[in-house]
């Protein structure tokens, strides 16, 4: 694949190195001269000096071919959005991936239809949720495009759902239980499955239904 990496900081340079080792063709754009000089020593002609939101810089890096993939990992969210938007909508890049620096800007990436996005803060938060039990409902996977997510909940003896059959639970519309793990054994639940304290339950649901689901399965 031909991959254009915009932003030659820690993330960008490590990506470029890994991709090159994987046999891909890479161009990496960095606007700070001192950073670019270090990149040029390693990546030679593949390192391009300039602002990756300038069209002539992107064109020098090969945007017009267009690349199979454009990865925008600068430290500036507006820049990453504009790079992805121009790459996709103007040059016809097949796929774009953007780094989200400030998770509060995620809504803007979504508004502009830029996916996939990667946010270190959000990834670490997801791990914290996984480690800290009082969060109760753990986000395992977000299918942003489909507006769905997969969550995990732990049934306790105080949970209103403990001891009940799946059929008798008033699960919110747009949600479904997809797996019950008990004593290390997975089961795909059917209406007859009875939930018990200690069960780890996976559910798929529409984004925004978490509170309803939590109420049905967990709330004392």
């Amino acid at each position: 694949m031909f991959i254009l990496v915009a932003g030659g900081g820690k993330v960008g340079s490590n990506l470029a190195r890994t991709l090159l080792r994987g046999g891909h063709e890479v161009a990496i754009v960095e606007q700070r001269r001192d950073h670019w000089e270090a990149l040029e020593e390693e990546f030679e002609h593949r390192a391009i000096l300039g602002d990756a939101t300038e069209l002539f810089v992107l064109e020098r890096a090969g945007i017009a071919r267009p690349p199979d993939l454009v990865v925008a990992v600068t430290g500036d969210d507006e820049d990453n959005m504009v790079i992805c938007q121009m790459a996709r909508d103007h040059y016809g890049a097949k796929k774009v991936i953007a780094r989200v620096n400030d998770p509060r800007n995620q809504v803007h990436f979504d508004l502009l239809g830029i996916s996939a996005t990667v946010s270190a803060t959000q990834s670490i938060m997801a791990m914290i949720e996984h480690e800290v039990p009082e969060h109760e409902l753990i986000h395992l996977l977000e299918l942003r495009k489909e507006n769905l997510e997969i969550v995990e909940v732990q049934i306790t003896k105080d949970s209103p759902s403990a001891g009940k059959h799946v059929a008798s639970l008033k699960l919110p519309v747009g949600s479904r239980l997809i797996s019950v793990m008990r004593d290390g054994q997975h089961e795909i639940p059917d209406p007859e499955t009875k939930l018990e304290p200690g069960d780890q339950v996976l559910a798929i649901l529409e984004t925004g239904k978490e509170d309803e689901l939590r109420r049905v399965l967990l709330k004392k």
Partner: protein, 140 residues
């Protein structure tokens, strides 16, 4: 009015003078000073990328939004937020880079590019000196 610098503050003042109810947003509190002591409109300190700041400034009730911060890419994104998220048709965005200005006007933004205007004005000013280029003078 998102961005209350030299340009934004003057646009805000001109619009207020002609009867518009204007609220300006700027990251720097000092920017309020550019609006003068008799500024009749609103002023919010904050960043245009912050949806809460836009709401506090009354974007949900706005008829028009002008985006003129000192960052082209910030303007491009905030302009699209105003247009697409808040549905404001009259969203005017300043973009200094002529290349991005042209690209984004084809993508549906109402773009003003002062650099392009300056290029035209400067070229016309030279032409208006009624001196012909030397190569043309030799040939003719």
């Amino acid at each position: 009015m998102v961005g209350c610098g030299r340009v934004g503050s003057k646009v805000a003042k001109k619009l207020a003078k002609s009867g518009w109810d204007v609220t300006a947003i700027d990251e720097a509190e000092e920017a309020l000073g550019r609006l003068g002591e008799d500024w009749p409109g609103g002023f919010i300190v904050g960043h245009g990328m912050d949806v809460k700041v836009l709401r506090d400034a009354g974007i949900e009730d706005a008829d028009a939004v002008v985006v003129a911060t000192n960052g082209d890419n910030t303007n491009i994104v905030v302009g699209q937020v105003a247009q697409k998220r808040f549905g404001i048709d009259c969203t005017v965005v300043r973009i200094l880079d002529p290349a991005r200005a042209e690209l984004y006007s084809t993508l549906g933004l109402r773009v003003v590019c002062p650099t392009s205007s300056a290029i035209d004005v400067l070229t016309d000013a030279v032409k208006s000196c009624s001196i012909r280029p030397r190569a043309a003078a030799k040939a003719g």
